[in-house]
Amino acid sequence: MQFWLPTVFLVAIYRGQKSDAAMMRAIMLLALLVAPASCQREERDLTGSVPEKPAAGIEQSVLHPGDGNNPAPARSKYEETAFDVAEGKRLFQWFNCSGCHFNGGGGIGPALMDDKWFYGSSIENIVATIKEGRPNGMPSFKGLVPEKEVWQLAAYVRSVGGFVAKDVAPSRNDDLNAAPAENRAPTPSPFNGKGP
């Protein structure tokens, strides 16, 4: 989609050099093609919990001394819909994650917007962190938060870290906020050189 639209446009311009009428027709065609694309940004899933089964071996972090052949985790659908990330942002306040992690800058709990991940930065790792808890003070939310909402929270935590596409990450808050909006977070550069 992203590639063939400009292609159509270029072809149109090329043809347009031959005749004005062809140019006009091509522009009309382009407008017709572009207009419906703006109608729907994404599909919102409003059904109840749809647990996403985590892949095997997700307890490993990037720092895990494994054989180094961990497959790159597939992107979860939750970090690809702005709606789910925004729901995660609301729940991050509602479930008082912000009480310990503040707005991602860290306080009682570690910062979630920096490049350091004790327990891994993949969405599966974060889901495991939320569900199981972590020994140095991260409480377990297993059973308290339904599966789907855990994934939405994890998707939001990823957006705080800058791992989520800018058109999906939440934009500016209505109220004052010390940190820049999630969709303006810098893209992280983990020190092992591998992308997230």
Binding site: R44, T47, G48, P51, N96, L144, E147
Partner: protein, 336 residues
């Protein structure tokens, strides 16, 4: 043909009956009364004017043109005098009618505003997507009542509602009792009204606020002072201690499966402040902001899958098994 007309009439009657709880034309409170009076005055005056204008127009359009005697310019001076007189008197009439309408609108506004400051009860209502948080203010903090989606007011007394919004703009409207007033984030609004007759009145959010705007209703129960005081006393109490075994199990499910992260049940560890207070939820007449009736079946439907009933609502579907679900429904249903 007659059967068809009969059916059409029946259908119209059914639709009109649907209007009953929202009756603007059947005011039960002072503010709504003034507004309805104004509506009638404007309607009749404008109707008479409309009929007169249409009649004049029809007369002018249908009148046979009288053949002009001699040059049309001849009688210009005479005609001008007549026209001046006619136009002048209609301008005067228009000014007079507008003055009367303006004055009556001012007087209605004054009647509504005059009761401000005479209130005996102050209620703080905060609009959220898509429910109403309700707090009865009291000078003594231990006498403050927290509830949701249902207001009780004493009949014949002025009640002040303070309005705020927690997320987006909402608007409060109880057609039988008072006109609309917006709830705006960061802006504090107020309204004062008097319910003149006991009854149950339906209210509705009147400002589009997202997915479930249409399911953002509430009820106002107007009752005599003693009944109101009794209700107030009951609401102050902490949640009922579950008696039956299933209800006790339900309380454990409620506390251990995350309901308490969002909801408060006073007297238990559940202290969430982002969702309706459930301490006396079963004493309300409706469920989920006027969406369902308060019955055990509807309660079970709501808790088992709120997204099926109000898609997009901020209450998630809980991952509960059948036994946990039955227990938690039994517990919530016992919170009278």
């Amino acid at each position: 043909m007659t059967r068809l007309r009969g059916k059409a009439l029946l259908l119209a009657a059914v639709f009109l009956a649907g209007c009953a709880p929202y009756a603007v034309l059947e005011p039960q409170g002072q503010s709504a009364g003034s507004i309805a009076g104004l509506l009638h005055l404007f309607m009749w005056v404008c109707m008479v004017i409309w009929v007169a204008v249409v009649a004049a127009l029809a007369y002018a359009a249908l009148k046979r043109p009288t053949p002009a005697a001699g040059s049309p310019l001849q009688s210009a001076a005479e005609f001008d005098g007549k026209a001046n007189w006619i136009v002048g008197s209609f301008v005067a009439l228009t000014v007079a009618i507008l003055a009367v309408l303006t004055l009556s609108s001012y007087l209605a506004g004054k009647t509504i505003a005059d009761i401000t400051g005479t209130e005996t009860v102050t209620i703080h209502v905060t609009g959220y997507q898509w429910w109403w948080d309700v707090e009865y203010e009291d000078t003594r903090p231990d006498r403050t009542i927290y509830t949701a989606n249902e207001l009780h007011v004493p009949v014949g007394e002025a009640v002040k509602i303070k309005l705020d919004a927690g997320d987006v703009i909402h608007s409060i409207w109880v057609p039988s009792l008072f006109g609309k007033r917006d709830l705006i984030p960061g802006q504090h609004n107020e309204l004062t009204f008097i319910a003149e007759k006991p009854g149950v009145y339906r209210g509705q959010c009147a400002e589009f606020c997202g997915f479930q705007h249409a399911h953002m209703g509430f009820t106002i129960v107007a009752e005599p002072r003693p009944a109101f005081d009794e209700w107030r006393r009951e609401q102050l109490a902490q949640a009922a201690i579950p008696a039956a075994l299933e209800q006790q199990q339900g309380r454990d499910v409620f506390l251990s499966r995350g309901c308490g992260l969002c909801h408060t049940v006073r007297g238990t560890d559940a202290g969430g402040r982002v969702a309706p207070d459930l301490t006396h939820v079963a004493s309300r007449q409706t469920l989920a902001a006027g969406t369902l009736r308060m019955t055990m079946t509807d309660l079970a439907r709501w808790i088992s899958d709120p997204q099926a009933i109000k898609p997009g609502t901020k209450m998630p579907k809980a991952d509960l098994d059948e036994r946990e679900l039955d227990a938690v429904v039994a517990y919530v249903g016992s919170l009278k």
